[in-house]
Symmetry: C3
Subunit: 461 residues, 3 copies
């Protein structure tokens, strides 16, 4: 391991600054305020009888901020469970999220429809950009500890682009519904990341094995991430659903799904973990699967009852996945999934897609009334039958899996190029390789040793 | 101490899964979307001229999320102050809150009035369920470190039920006002928990004494809980008050009460603590008493001036309680109150009830104008005099104390049965009994010892 | 160092209680609910056709809560980076914020216009009080670790007063715009604090040098502060801007500025830090400079493009400031700036003021349309030209710098009086001087040593 290989003095600044300059130029050329953020245009609407309250800001900004917390605190701290990778977990999460949300604004803007050659931005584009970022952070979880920040930025460039393509196909071309992103965010992010991890397989990773685990306080930091994700998931799933009953119902379905999922997680964890004790890995992750699994159906008339069943199932398969499937993935399929994203986002995402397809296929005018127009506009307009909407949902899952796996494969090979300063097998899961660390020795001594009598005297004086 | 006694492999899964299955069945049978979450019903209201903004979601969802943060982060992290009980504090808080909010939805639904045999759910039921959960978590604070998760679930089943009964009597039968729950939440939860702790008295708890204290970083984690509770208490007290001036005023009164309480807490702490230094226990707890103490009167025309006086008093009695009363409770009354909930929720809750009774008795049409209808509908309608409203408030406090103490007594005896895997006196306040702990030895060494020259070289390379 | 010098038993209670009593008396005499929090007055507005939704609470309360989190969690935890000063960072932050927001309500009330001899309070006064508090906390960052809580309270009394005077001159007399406070909050707080730090210069501070640095977990706690500040800065800058497009646009401009700033920060940090590694100090601080730098122009039609350029510049100068300017400030100018507030708030604040002046000078009716009335009412009304508005902005910067520096100078000398229990040079950056610390020795051993076979057996039993 030589100095130059993982030294980021040139690589990271080049990546950050070049990417940011490109983004700024593209924003300068292509991006405009939308009707609700532009002073002139909004005041035209006011002159035409709108009230300031009609500005979408007031419908969605609280949800946006909750989503924002999930992206930066939730994902960031969830990954701090590693004993020696907290700086990188929070810090790289911060870096790639700040990049991805800008890049996503551009990529989603291209596909969601330009306005006279311009991308319009407002609160909805901000939420969608955060959503796309979430997908990248899921993939980050699969390769956590084994990648350099430059690799992660490159991965983000490609993944955000493919996310926007897939989202366009699923939501616009196929006409599927996926407000909370069981498919477009979770399934996509998980299988993309797993495929990248597969290509980047490190046969000698066991040399860093002793660092690939938690310590007491790192698990507590991770719980900050878990709890924030859990609490704000109702806001995540409802952030871009239609105004009124739709936002309200989506938030509530998610809340019930998560609650039921949590009970299942604790129950199952005690069954499968060593000695009938609880395993923090399950609590930190599987308890969230209920949010993933109602990402598609949450806005539908799933009922609290249906939401709870889905949540219960999601928690169950997630715990079982951590216990039984993850070791198989690693040993047989050579997928080293650091955070177990397959269990938290992969399988529950697929479950969520299936639940969405079934729930859509069962939609009736009797249940939805005029609300059908919000949830399934194509059924309301008579363009499709409910059963066909179900089929569109199912096809969307297949498309998402295909694009994610293929995209992850290609991205993996690009990231395999030995030019990004990736860590060697012996120094994975280790902050010290990319971060100046505080002097631990002296300072730690300070914290733990008995003070000298002299010092003690001063303090007690 | 044998294996079987505290092993949860059968007990916890049985408790979790049976309870969740019961809940799911009851939800399937009894629970429906309300008018604002149901697609068909809400669109009927839209057809009748409502705007999406009239959906209560937009009035209350931001407050709900703040309350949610208080329940899961606030209470959860506040209790991580124990050096070796962080997993259990956050983790059991998470478990029993996820359970209690579901159970509370059912119990409160029964008592708050069924609609054609169905319980209607929406944002207000979600807030109320979180409130009820808060009460259970207060009781949890009294028995923290000395109970198994199975005991806690059983306690939650009973306490939620009695909470709903008491709430029904206080708010519906007696017609008292208690929007922020000085009585129904804080007084109830505290005295219920204290009585449970009394019955579960452990004469040999001093065998675990060395773990019943904090370390440096555990106190910092606890401050996360404190600060979140402090910041969001205005949302808590105003979450279910009437729209408009009521929510606005309640939030502001709480904000001022807490600010004054904080100054009193710091001042008093320096007076009573050792050597004129500040005591973290006071800061973490007593600074919050101002929120508790305006839980009843916060929605009334208490004025900022009145709110500050109440907050100042609450901080004062809370610090003094920690210093002088807690030792007496433990030694004379045999109540081992781990978190000092008597000082944070008990006495300030009673203070809040008294303040509420006095403020209600002083209500005049001159001060409230037409706003009287929101705060005291029975006075507005002429059904009662203000003085009688004050009496109803006072009776409500007595009823709450009675139900809490009696309920806690019975619950304590039920929890005393030796079937729940409670920890022995020697291993209280210890995560290791219920949680798989990360390997500390090797990993900690990793964190603190001087690296080998070889490793150091690699890192610096 | 004798006992009496830093013992707070008398000093802190006297300061806290006297100040709080004064505040309560002044509130009793001078403060009233405004039209939107008073039951009678609001219901008069309702009777006149207003809807509850017109209550400013619903426009601003979510933003207020985000600002509140920035003040108490953001600032509080950002300063926990010191290895041994976490209790004081969070705890003194808590104390002086709780005091300052009350005092600010009074001081700003005097200057923002009394109503019949009374100060009216509501959600907007709460946000403004939190803003003023933010300024005090910035100054706290400059003197962190070297001041007693009594000194900090005295500093707050003076600084809040001068803040209100400066704010009055800048916003009311000069008619400048500064919704996010690049000038009034950041520039003012930074240069005030730097001047105080200059006067309180400690030539022998190197005796505490070994404690003036971070440890691994303290840096992670600090990242909690950083991320919260970063996420909620859009709410900060938009909290008091006009309803509708203004709040919406301000939040979005801030979001883009911060994202670009973050990329610049990571890039520059890797360039200037040791060995091409990232430096936590930069990430924790410089990544936030983008929020500071659009504090004035954020509500203007800066465009996302302009916002990103400003953010990118802010991150760049902030990292360079930490690397090259801070050592000069300390060695040549004798300013010991503990948190580097000059780099995070000082220079980016001045940059923000300049950007604001330029953007204002370029305002045209063509771009703003009728929205001009919200952003630049004096230009809309024809009272001033855009270019003159730019000049007013520039003058405001000069005035702010003048009042901050002069105020800080005087305050520094007042704080130099040897009566406040300030720590000696040898025990700076040390919680133990003002806080009862948990017994670390025994407890830490508990956490790290191999358990005795006996204990281990019990745990594994």
């Amino acid at each position: 391991m030589t100095n130059s290989a993982t030294n980021l003095r040139l690589k990271l600044p080049m990546a950050c600054i070049i990417l940011e300059v490109i983004i700024i130029i593209l924003f300068g050329t292509l991006v405009q305020y939308d009707d609700e953020t532009d002073a002139k245009l909004w005041h035209k609407e006011i002159a035409n009888g709108s009230s300031n309250y009609d500005n979408d800001f007031y419908y969605r900004y609280p949800s946006f901020q909750d989503v924002h917390v999930m992206i930066f605190i939730g994902f960031g701290f969830l990954m701090t469970f590693l004993q020696r990778y907290g700086f990188s977990s929070v810090g790289f999460n911060f870096l790639i999220a700040a990049f991805a949300l800008q890049w996503a604004t551009l990529m989603q803007g291209f596909f969601h429809g330009m306005h006279g050659g311009k991308i319009h931005v407002g609160i909805e584009s901000m939420i969608n950009a955060d959503f796309c970022t979430g997908s990248v952070l899921i993939s980050f979880g699969a390769v956590l500890g084994k990648t350099s920040p430059v690799q992660l930025l490159v991965m983000s460039v490609i993944e955000v682009t493919l996310f926007a393509v897939n989202e366009f196909i699923v939501l616009t071309v196929l006409g599927a519904k996926d407000a909370g992103g069981s498919m477009t965010i979770h399934t996509f992010g998980a299988y993309f990341g797993l495929m990248v991890a597969r290509v980047l397989y490190r046969p000698n990773l066991d040399k860093s094995k002793h660092k690939n685990c938690s310590v007491y306080h790192s698990d507590l930091f991770a719980m900050i991430g878990t709890i924030y994700l859990w609490m704000f998931w109702p806001s995540f799933n409802s952030a871009v659903t239609a105004h009124g009953d739709d936002q309200h119902r989506t938030a509530m379905n998610t809340y019930y799904s998560l609650a039921a999922c949590t009970l299942a997680t604790y129950g199952l964890s005690a069954v499968v973990a060593h000695d009938g004790k609880l395993d923090m890995v399950h609590i930190q992750n599987a308890a969230l699967a209920g949010g993933v699994a109602v990402g598609t159906a949450g806005e539908m008339m799933l009922t609290p009852f249906g939401s709870m069943i889905v949540g219960f199932l999601a928690g169950t398969i997630s715990v079982l996945g951590f216990k039984f499937l993850s070791p198989i993935l690693e040993q047989k399929l050579k997928i080293q999934d650091t955070c177990g994203v397959h269990n938290l986002h992969g399988m529950p995402g697929v479950l969520g897609a299936i639940v969405g397809a079934v729930t859509a296929a069962l939609a009736t005018k009797e249940v939805y009334g005029d609300g059908m127009a919000d949830v399934f506009p194509d059924i309301q307009s008579g363009d499709v039958e409910a059963s066909f909407q179900g089929i569109r949902q199912a096809i969307s899952l297949a498309v998402t899996l295909g694009i994610a796996l293929l995209g992850g494969l290609i991205t993996g090979f690009i990231l395999k190029l030995p030019i990004y300063g990736a860590p060697p097998d012996t120094i994975c899961f280790e902050d010290g390789i990319y971060w100046e660390l505080p002097g631990e020795e002296g300072s730690h001594e300070e914290l733990t040793t008995v003070r000298t009598p002299d010092e003690a005297e001063k303090l007690n004086a």
